[in-house]
């Protein structure tokens, strides 16, 4: 759905599919030369996943903005922002807001 909203707004989306490891995400992002990485996490593994994504990006000397969506407890958001996550979109966010945010980043 997020993919459709962005594509309809003229933003090119490389969709990795589901259940990807941080390694797979970062590889795809670098190979496809993306401007931003958006990761949806519904299962509660977000802290670990995002930490690993940043480690991998650092290792490879890349500074690609990362943002997140999905089921993420309020209490975890400051920690994620500290890690470097640009924005966290929680359930109930309007698609318009997301599109505008990404246009602002890239």
């Amino acid at each position: 759905m997020i993919r459709d909203a962005l594509t309809n707004e003229g933003i090119e989306v490389i969709y990795t599919g589901l259940h990807k490891t941080p390694e797979e995400i970062v590889n795809t992002a670098i190979n496809e030369k993306v401007d931003v990485i958006g990761i949806s996490s519904m299962t509660g593994a977000h802290n670990l996943i995002f930490q690993r994504v940043f480690e991998l990006l650092n290792e490879r000397g890349k500074n690609i903005p990362v943002f997140a969506g999905g089921i993420i407890p309020d209490g975890d958001i400051p920690k994620l922002k500290e890690m470097g996550i640009k924005e966290v979109f929680l359930p109930g966010t309007e698609l318009k807001g997301i599109v505008e945010f990404i246009k602002g980043l890239s």
Partner: protein, 536 residues
């Protein structure tokens, strides 16, 4: 000439969630094509529009079954007992992501996910703890498990065996529906054809050994949650069901040997009457199709029994207490639609898996409908309503249009390969979200009647130490098993997978020799292959 003042209506068009136009009033004109004896009939009579049992809720209430699971097996065991103590009448197990995907807890892909979204199960040892102190010959147990369903069912059988419970006493359900995984839930391991083989194996094994088990729960729930309309949910689910039936018939069983144990699982969403019509249409279409195709002798082969869950995707993060009201209405639809079993979502649905308090209120909601509202006094109380009967017919017609498209594509598996159901669902999801963003559809607290609020409910947290403990337990078990027996069991399984024998007895032997879910899946992947998602 008399002048009549007609008030302008609030909207130009009134539609339900399948985008059908709804008229201002329904009259006998709208049901004139419906023949009472042929299309409606009585409860427990063909085509079962009004219900599948003679006495329905006057005889026995639906099973109150709350989907639950988190942490290690002992944590979920405690939640099960809590729910039973508060009047729940059946159990329903949620597994964590690694278990759902067939990974052991120590697999790198499991990191951060162990025991978070459900209970972590690696071996039969976990399964024993999960059902410790629960009388498996009295309580029915449902398990939401798909790609590795045959493995979890085998573990359940092995645990019952250890407890000395005869297999013919085991009642419950494995979801075991892979077709909807490719279209909606997206937890796959193997490609469609070998998945169908595993499912058929379990259906045949259960028909012969577990006469009270429902080997499959053909699910529309996930299709709907992925964003389909009610019509699409119904059409794809029933078509999936017919695909499974044909698979078993091809393996040489007669319809009456297994069809009475098939079960279904539907969603109950916001449009109250549309949902009731959907459930009634489901029963009628299923009965007609099974009769037409296979002409069964046993009436039960034609009856569609189903579990319902209220629509998680309809619940809102904003003003979460309002969710209790939404769930009440949706649960009432399910009951008026004649469900056999029901899960009511908790008000904290958008935040995390439910706290004890939230799930208790959800259970109480069912109990209030059952014991206070009076709706259980008579069967199918809306039968004969001009609107409901007309809508039931419309649902049926719309479903047949999809059946035709799917037939033309060469059946469900090839439709999935072409990405057809996936695309239909995605488009509906997107247009629904657009309707909300543009306020064509109002959602209280989301796009109207908005309030400022802060941390509105308490949020459930799983114990962060679960992963470490679970991995330790797995390590201990791996160190203590009979290596020879294990090796033989896995080799036999592999050999059988290459051939066309029923795999269930081999999987049962493997779990009894403490093979892990990951080890069994690895053997099967090697022989059956893995699935790659077509991007639509």
């Amino acid at each position: 000439m008399a002048k009549v003042l007609v008030m302008k209506e609030r909207k130009e068009k009134f539609t339900n969630l399948s985008n059908m136009d709804i008229k201002s009033v329904y009259t006998p004109e709208d049901v004139k094509n419906i023949e009472d004896s042929k299309d409606i009939g009585l409860p427990c009579e063909f085509p079962f529009t009004r219900g599948i049992h003679q006495t329905m809720y006057r005889g026995r209430l639906w099973t109150m079954r709350q989907f639950s699971g988190f942490g290690a097996a002992e944590d979920t065991n405690k939640r099960f007992k809590y729910l039973l103590k508060h009047g729940e009448t059946g159990l329903s197990t949620a597994f964590d992501m690694p278990t759902l995907m067939g990974y052991d807890s120590d697999n790198p892909r499991a990191a951060g996910e162990v025991g978070v979204c459900g209970v972590a199960i690696d071996t039969i040892a976990d399964m024993e703890i999960l059902f410790d102190g629960i009388p498996l010959d009295e309580v029915t147990v449902s398990m939401t498990i798909n790609a590795p369903a045959s493995i979890l069912l085998s573990m359940y059988i092995a645990v019952a065996d250890k407890k000395g419970i005869p297999l013919n006493k085991l009642g419950g359900t494995t979801q075991n529906d892979m077709l909807k995984e490719y279209t909606a839930q997206k937890e796959w391991i193997f490609p469609p054809e070998p998945s169908l083989r595993l499912i058929t194996d379990t259906i045949i094994y259960c028909a012969r050994n577990l006469p009270k088990w429902h080997p499959i729960s053909i699910s529309g729930y996930h299709i709907r949650e992925a964003g389909s309309t009610a019509v699409q949910e119904l059409a794809f689910t029933l078509y999936d069901g017919l695909t499974y039936v044909e698979g078993v018939i091809k393996r040489g069983l007669s319809i009456d040997e297994f069809a009475p144990r098939l079960s279904f699982f539907f969603n109950s969403h916001n449009d109250f009457f549309e949902e009731i019509a959907k459930f009634r249409a489901a029963r009628r279409i299923w009965a007609r199709e099974i009769k037409k195709r296979y002409n069964p002798k046993d009436e039960r082969s034609m009856t569609l029994r189903f579990h319902t869950q209220t629509a998680g995707c309809s619940l809102t993060a904003q003003q979460p207490y309002n969710n209790i009201v939404r769930v009440t209405l949706q649960a009432l639809s399910a009951v008026l639609g004649g469900t056999q079993s029901l899960h009511t979502d908790s008000m904290d649905e958008t935040y995390a898996i439910p706290t004890e308090e939230a799930v208790r209120i959800a259970l109480r909601t069912q109990q209030i409908i059952a014991h206070e509202s009076g709706v259980t006094n008579t069967i199918d109380p809306l039968g004969g309503s001009y609107y409901i009967e007309n809508l039931t017919n419309k649902m049926e017609d719309a479903v047949y249009e999809y059946f035709k498209k799917l037939d033309d594509m060469g059946g469900m598996v090839s439709a999935i390969e072409k990405g057809f159901p996936q695309k239909e669902i995605k488009e509906s999801a997107y247009s629904y979200q657009k309707e909300i963003d543009s306020k064509e559809r109002l959602i209280v607290g989301v796009n109207d009647f908005i309030e400022e609020e802060k941390a509105p409910v308490e949020v459930f947290k799983t114990n962060p130490d679960v992963e470490r403990k679970q991995i330790q337990r797995l390590k201990d078990i791996k160190g203590n098993r009979d290596k020879k027996r294990l090796k033989m069991a896995l080799e036999d399984l592999k050999r059988a997978a290459h051939g066309d024998e029923n795999l269930m007895p081999f999987i049962i032997e493997a779990v009894k020799s403490y093979a892990t879910i990951g080890e069994i899946c690895d053997v099967l992947k090697e022989v059956l292959g893995t699935y790659k998602e077509p991007i639509v």
